[in-house]
Symmetry: C2
Subunit: 596 residues, 2 copies
Amino acid sequence: MSFIVDFEPVGRRGEFSEDDTLLECARQLSVDLVSICGGAGSCERCKVQVIAGEVSELSFDEQFVLTENEVAQGYRLACRTYPLSDVKLHVPPESLTTPQRTQVEGLNVSVEVDPILVGVDVSLTPPTLESPKSDSMNLFSVLAEKGFQPSSIDYQVMKELPEVIRSNDWQINTAVRGEEVVAVGAPGTRWLGFAADIGTTKIAGYLMDLATGELLASKGMMNPQISYGEDVVSRIVIANKSLPDRDRLQAMLIEAINSTAVELCKEAGVSIDQVVEAVIVGNTAIHHLFVGLPVKQLGLAPYTAVEDQAIDIKGRELGLTFSPGAYVHLLPNIAGYVGADHVAMLLATRIADSHDTVLAIDIGTNTEICLTHEGKMTSVSCASGPAFEGAHIKHGMRAAPGAIEYVRLDNGKLEVQTIGGEPPVGICGSGILDVIAQLRKNEILEHSGKMVEHPQVRQNGTIKEFVLAERNGLEPITISQKDVRELQLAKGAIRLGIEALLENAGIDKDKLDHVIIAGAFGTFINVESAITIGMLPELPLERFSQVGNAAGTGARLALLSRRERAKASEIAARDGYIELAKVPRFNLRFAQATYM
Amino acid sequence: MSFIVDFEPVGRRGEFSEDDTLLECARQLSVDLVSICGGAGSCERCKVQVIAGEVSELSFDEQFVLTENEVAQGYRLACRTYPLSDVKLHVPPESLTTPQRTQVEGLNVSVEVDPILVGVDVSLTPPTLESPKSDSMNLFSVLAEKGFQPSSIDYQVMKELPEVIRSNDWQINTAVRGEEVVAVGAPGTRWLGFAADIGTTKIAGYLMDLATGELLASKGMMNPQISYGEDVVSRIVIANKSLPDRDRLQAMLIEAINSTAVELCKEAGVSIDQVVEAVIVGNTAIHHLFVGLPVKQLGLAPYTAVEDQAIDIKGRELGLTFSPGAYVHLLPNIAGYVGADHVAMLLATRIADSHDTVLAIDIGTNTEICLTHEGKMTSVSCASGPAFEGAHIKHGMRAAPGAIEYVRLDNGKLEVQTIGGEPPVGICGSGILDVIAQLRKNEILEHSGKMVEHPQVRQNGTIKEFVLAERNGLEPITISQKDVRELQLAKGAIRLGIEALLENAGIDKDKLDHVIIAGAFGTFINVESAITIGMLPELPLERFSQVGNAAGTGARLALLSRRERAKASEIAARDGYIELAKVPRFNLRFAQATYM
């Protein structure tokens, strides 16, 4: 038996059997349902509303998760529900991963444009019976006169060479990448580069002119792997299930990069065939999934990367649709949980060259922190978890329209702002940080995080919760004691990471000249709130800067400059790495760090 | 409408429409019909006998070609005939390209085994939380201790690395190829190499142990492109028709190499995954078709190669099924019609190092000749045509069972021997050479090649012919005046090539210390006959040597030794090249060279 499953308001429909969960249907239709646990039934986030048709009986899991009111309105968990007839579903905004704020803007760092690849105009002499030189020798001899001595031509480029030479009347342009000719084209061809920061949640792509360094276009999009789990650990679990699963996760990234590059080229009015070099950064797991490397050993102590050095791979081998001879360059990783994106961030923030004492923090599902002090760099990785992306928070959601992103509570007066000014549907990371800081300031939360009796605190079963917004016919949006605990775990991990670095360097927080907060989430948080809850060190506000997508900037630098590429490898090699779990009395220290 | 077309005695059948020529049917069923012209209706060699069923009417071309007797027996040209009902066909042996003699034996040249790739046993230390080194760094550091400093690991090898390391308890073997790790395996893995000489007609493949240089297995097979034309020019024409046509010709070679390699591995009891390096030689057109390069410019003066330097390509990129990280190395070409197979032959015959004056000849559809004199090497390419493969000769065929290969005529007594002692079905190259030499010796042919009146010469229409063998109910096998002319053109081209080289060096033929005859055809010819008809210079017989497949030997040398690889490039660069068409008074000289 097969049934039509219709997702609204996105308007996607397809035919499925009674053996397909609604989550599986959504995946196959590219409806981006939130699925933090990867369909394991534990994250309770893939809620959909059945508007018409019959579905399977309420599962055991769902009886625990859904309120009577929700069940009455037809809400179900997509991962636990099967169609029994044609069905029509409503997907509430908070269950959709898109649209969302993405972050492509980052630091603007000046760099001397000195890319690994240069375009050289050459004028060839047609061969004769007396001098029947091959096309390659012909090209090499003219390039040598110009001071370029490549030793090979990519074999895919060789395929085009005779036609390009003859259709351009023996005047061509050659993209020379060190020892290799990687592209040929008409005289004066403008060779382009593509850089991308692939985050666990979001992808930022950039199209650049390799000769001038000009940014032609940039674009953010969701990481499509999201529908297979919101944190990298979920994806590692899926990738380890089978090779086809791992291949599918890889294919999603490749497809995302291809479509991003095509859209950027369209926007800039250029051809994808002009893109002859790419730089990709991501955390170590994303890096491995992108290349198609095994991630099994990344999921187990001691969290070993397969490869941590910078690597160059022909894009075509990965299925990337750039110019056929294009390489993709992956910046080095530092450790299993300190990846190339962290290296790129360190490159962009220039802290490797700083004589100051600087702390650089990239907050995310995994938070990487680096301290530079007296020329020495040390990094730490903290499993801060996806709470900032709204996961494990009852009404948490990612930074999509309708998410509460700003909260103030003064003298009992509550002020709430949502993204896009829409009616509230949930609360995103910066909002959660704000509300908890406000509750702490107003002594509604104790030092330990315990919620006290208060007129605006209500009891919901055994759990206290603070009501943020009432909704018509639906549960009000609240922050519960449990949510506070989740955030305490996240902020505690970051705080402990910072403490570990300061102690390792033997310095006090006051020695910090500068604290850099990078990454999309870091861009939108209120630093004061973060200080209030004890996530960031208490320092004058002017010492903090929020720099946006620094990893993307680092990728762009490595695209434009051989020196920057070399510097990235130097940073990866120089950067000392502390394993947080090895901090003495870790459990006690961590518990203390969760206090506010 | 569709019909069953049945080829006997091969016993292949399939369903086809009335729009498919019988040649097309044969191709699709992999029945290797001779097709010198590639189906253009001009070579008259794809004769088949219709045993049952209806076919299209006799075409205009066929009326010229087939005798009344043949037509009565149901003989047709497969390329001009279409099925009109289910049909059953008999394919006479002379119309089949297989089985045939192939030549894998060649010179045995001793060489110091020093391959580009070495296997290194390494013992790794498992990472810990204190020292969470990546698998690649782990490997590199141990290799460095052993004096190996690769800078990268093939990304396909990276995919296997974690599992290979862990399943072998941190003891593995690494195939290091200069800067790159191209394979990993269990400790003590025996890494193998594959060498092949891809001729226009035949392929010779060799499986070798890279550490010891031992030849594990060797095998000859037909070049499957044969069914798309017997000479390279026909294939260039087909490849130029469209990209899918060129791709199909490439795929045939790749498939042939893959199946040869698999069979060799099976014979040697090893796994194809142990094959980590390959060397391929072939003429320039075959080289280009193998790599997938355009051949359009090879077919037009000045016959320009796209690439003439040695190249390395990942085998997987071409669809080769060796170990995933294996490279295929292609030896350099010299010119559009002097290819890597000639370079390999020069390498194997050691004439580059000789202080003697030596002529080396590789006779084939295209004949390449090299003269070494006073340390200077010069080559020439002669379009000798496919006459030696039996093409354009009325009863010509390739060296298959039943082919007349030896002829003596003493005092009017004719002695004829066939391959395998089978009843005669045609005459192969060495037989043609023999019979023409015997006719010349017995003055049945004049100096000019004119056939005189003679009791054993009969008149067939306007053409004289010498009867070699009568056949029951079929046309007798003859050599006609026209066949003699064809052979004169072939031998004239070779003779003029030799003369041009001697003149270029300013020496007389008597100065030649040694004449080396390489290649499968050259192995089987009677040197005396070749001298008699003036193809080879008149010199004492002891100065000649027939060395078999020297190109295959050269490929094996390049597989086993980096020095030999470098020498091949040196030979290609050193070898002077004369364009035969540029010889002064070419037409007159060529006409003279055809005399006997």
